[in-house]
Amino acid sequence: MAVSDDEMDGVAGYMQAAKRQALQNVEHVAEGVAAETLSEGKLFEIAQSIGDKRLEELNVADTTCGYCAVGCRFDLYSDGEEILAARPTEAEDAPVNGISTCVKGKFGYDFVNSDDRLTTPLVRDERGEFREATWDEALSRVVEGLGSIQEEHGGEALSVIASSKATNEENYLMGKFARQVLGTNSVDNCNRLCHSSTVAGLAKTYGYGAASISTDDLEIADCVLLTGSNTTEAHPVLATRIKQNVRDGADLLVFDPREVQIAEYATQYTRVNPGYDAVWINAITRHIVNNDLYDEAFVEERTTGFEAVREAVQEFTPERVEEVTGVPHEEIVSAAETIADADRCVFGWTLGLTEHSHGTENVMAMANLAAVTGNLGKPGTGVSPFRGQNNVQGGGGDMGPLPDNFPGYQDIADDEIRAKFEEAWECEISPEYGYYTTQMFLAADDDDLRGMYIIGENAALSEPGVNHAEDILEELEFLVVQDLFVNETAQYADVVLPACSFVEKTGTFTNTDRTVQMVNEVMEPKGDSQPDWEILQALANRMGREWSYDSTAEIMEEVNSLTPLYGGVTHDRVESEGGLQWPCWDEDHPGTERLYADAFNTDDGKAHLQAVGYSEPAETPDEEYPFTLTTGRVLYQYHTGTMTHREEGIMQYTPSDFIEINPDTAANYGIESGDMVRVTSRRGEIVVSAQVTDRVGPESVFIPIHFAESAVNRLTDEEHLDPAAATPEFKVSAVRIAPDEGDPEAVTAADAAAGGDD
């Protein structure tokens, strides 16, 4: 009575199901007998042996989480159809998280085999509707679409948006594909929308655009300063480690426009007006410098530019700072003294510092503060931008799918470096930088860009000013989207190629503290979906190149040979050593736990402090738009919801969008929790339900970024970008609010709980 996997029809199908039921019945009987006759101990043993037996039939692999960039590792269990469980893996294989995982990493896998997961390529039929296509036809269409633009207008008229969800190896190929196959430097990724100002700011001051710390430093610091980071919701596992340290006596300073949940654990929470971060940071530096609380020896031996900084911060007088940022002088003083008193301090931030029209300046102000207090290069000290996408550090940065850099932050304008890549890739590469993501959408307006290849990125929701982004996507001559789903962006595509998720492939991710970790295949790709690297290879070969990678390990070998930072990062070592932190120059190099222990990555080995003056948001509130809108994340959702909206449990918890409004403001407008509110900016308007809470100040409102129906990026500004990093100012938009006619939404217990977790 072999139970076949193939479902049969009719009577045979019924009998097949009946057999299955019969087997279960017999099991029940056996269990009943056992329960009556066996001791609990024996039953437990039996259960254990049955459990072991059943696990033998599952595929188990240790892998690295595909949600945020904390880099949690765990064992995933799959029966080949779906992910059944996530359980802790060996401690040495999980250096960042140990046994911890957050709700998304533990349970958020329904997206992998959700019904709308795309498993077959799609092309447009003669009426413009999507129809199924073979890979052969779909790839031919891509070659034709991209190829004809390339022929007529040159490769520069094309761009690639790479995916920080994909592996390092795949991102390396995305950069190579753009430059070698398409002939364009316009390749960029989501980092532009988040931490590119961190990368620019830290690279300019210290040399590396990355966290200097190891995650362990968060637990051995005496003091942690967090700003613009809703750590408990956006990086829950890091938050756990910080909270543990605070429990054991460390000081925690939180500066944020919203009283986010981590603020509950803070020694000091200070509410700041959004958009003036350089001001309050400089004020702290000013107090430290003027009162001789700085680390003189460190400044003397390891930095340049101190005098310029000392001079620049003088304008940030207590009165002015309080007026602009809303922070009373005594709070600046107490924070300054706490930092100065600490032997070891870590400075952590997320997008609240970076998503501004002057984000790079904010980051440099923070870099100055860390340097003047000597908090770099030693255990328990350093700077720690918490990266958002699982592999935005490695895939989005290190692997160089960037308009200005090759892998390893090697400048494309450098003739020697460019020659190295031209030789290795057998192609010519222009020394001119390509377009940043945000600039691509502006360039397309002028027909400077005519075709796009968007991989694993939901630009139609995530770009600032999405009304504009949608127009651009619709007008493009050719758009190919490679994704797991027909997401909001793919709806504009000429061709949609079905890619597969991180549980269906092998490679590496690099986490927020520069640790390169293995991603292992837990289940076969769904349907006809393929890993990004295989799709890229097929396309490259159809476009006249000869790529012949048999595995991602081979791709990594090529990365090793061209990227000094990753010189010794091979799959074998990552596998056997359970993670390797860059820089890792060669096979004998042990990797780098903490940056700048001996020298900074600058020409003279010193930190180059940068004088940072006054800055303010590009758009400040006025009579017409009197409130400052800031945006962010909630715990149970992730980015544009492509992954989390397919998780039933998660959608029960935070099912829809909302706006946080201060009780005073709400009272003025006659708004109560659950009422619908119309929110209008100079770019557009949306209607969302109200959550009245003093988590935000009376002059600010907050809306999460995760929901398509009410896309908050209809309100944000696509034009005012950070001059150095081209990061948009997601964190500040001037808006007005008004009660909307729509039916009020009941505020459920779950909503209230979600709010309380903020």
Partner: protein, 244 residues
């Protein structure tokens, strides 16, 4: 250049690869099965374990192929061999008991096999389904017991109900009075069989406990059928032993 298009063929998605329920086949029976399938499942769930096993025996026999039938109705020697496979003294004791009853046991299963060989498979399923939908759990149990007990009479009874069914008299088919009187149920039999599991437990307690562990192992093995056939036959033999 492409207009935003929300719709796309569902067949391009993972959802389309999941099992589609109704396929082709005898339309009427299909309908009957899909209508009653849930009720059957419910009935099976709501009746006690003994009932489950008896239904199971019917279903397995009705859907098994020749080779499988041979296994299910295996000779005493096979049964003993299977029990020996458990390699425990306790199980061996049980197996000896079973061996004594093996012949009788095979005969009882033959009842169902006849139905299949004569091409009544579909009818059997339809009837079982209709019954379980219309009868209470206790009634189903009794009926199953009767199936178990009444060898050749059952075939006759089934012939009767099949005729009713062919005549479209489904209501009559499930009419309790008609059916049960035709089957001449012995009420004591049901109660007797109800005590079966307890008896198994008793047997286990008096032989060593590891027996059940071995049994479980058999059930969970890749070839679960071996264990299944063993259990079905074992229970029947025990039941017969009790009645004696």
């Amino acid at each position: 250049m492409a207009k935003p298009t929300e719709s796309y063929p569902e067949t391009a998605t993972h959802g389309s690869t999941k099992r589609e329920t109704n396929g082709e086949g005898d339309a009427a029976l299909q309908e009957a099965l899909s209508t009653h399938g849930e009720a059957l499942a419910e009935a099976v769930d709501s009746t006690d374990e003994l009932q489950d096993v008896l239904s199971t025996a019917v279903l397995i026999a009705a859907s098994a192929d020749e080779d499988e039938l041979e296994h299910v109705t295996a000779s005493a020697a096979n049964l003993v061999a299977a029990a020996d496979g458990l390699s425990t003294d306790g199980a061996a004791t049980l197996a000896t008991d079973l061996g004594d009853n093996a012949e009788e046991l095979s005969a009882s299963l033959d009842t169902v096999l006849v139905l299949q060989r004569e091409g009544h498979l579909d009818d059997l399923v339809a009837i079982a389904t209709a019954f379980t939908e219309s009868l209470s759990a206790a009634e189903v149990e009794e009926l199953s017991t009767t199936l178990e007990d009444n060898g050749t009479e059952i075939v006759e009874a089934l012939d009767l109900v099949l005729e009713l069914q062919r005549g479209g008299q489904l209501e009559e088919l499930v009419d309790l009075a008609n059916t049960l009187s035709a089957l001449e149920i012995d009420e004591d039999t049901a109660e007797g069989l109800n005590n079966l599991l307890g008896a198994v437990g008793e047997a286990q307690r008096s032989s060593e406990r590891v027996g059940v562990l071995g049994l479980l192992r058999e059930l969970r093995s890749r070839d679960a059928r071996d264990g299944l056939g063993y259990l079905v036959e074992f229970l029947k033999a025990q039941g017969r032993g009790l009645r004696r």
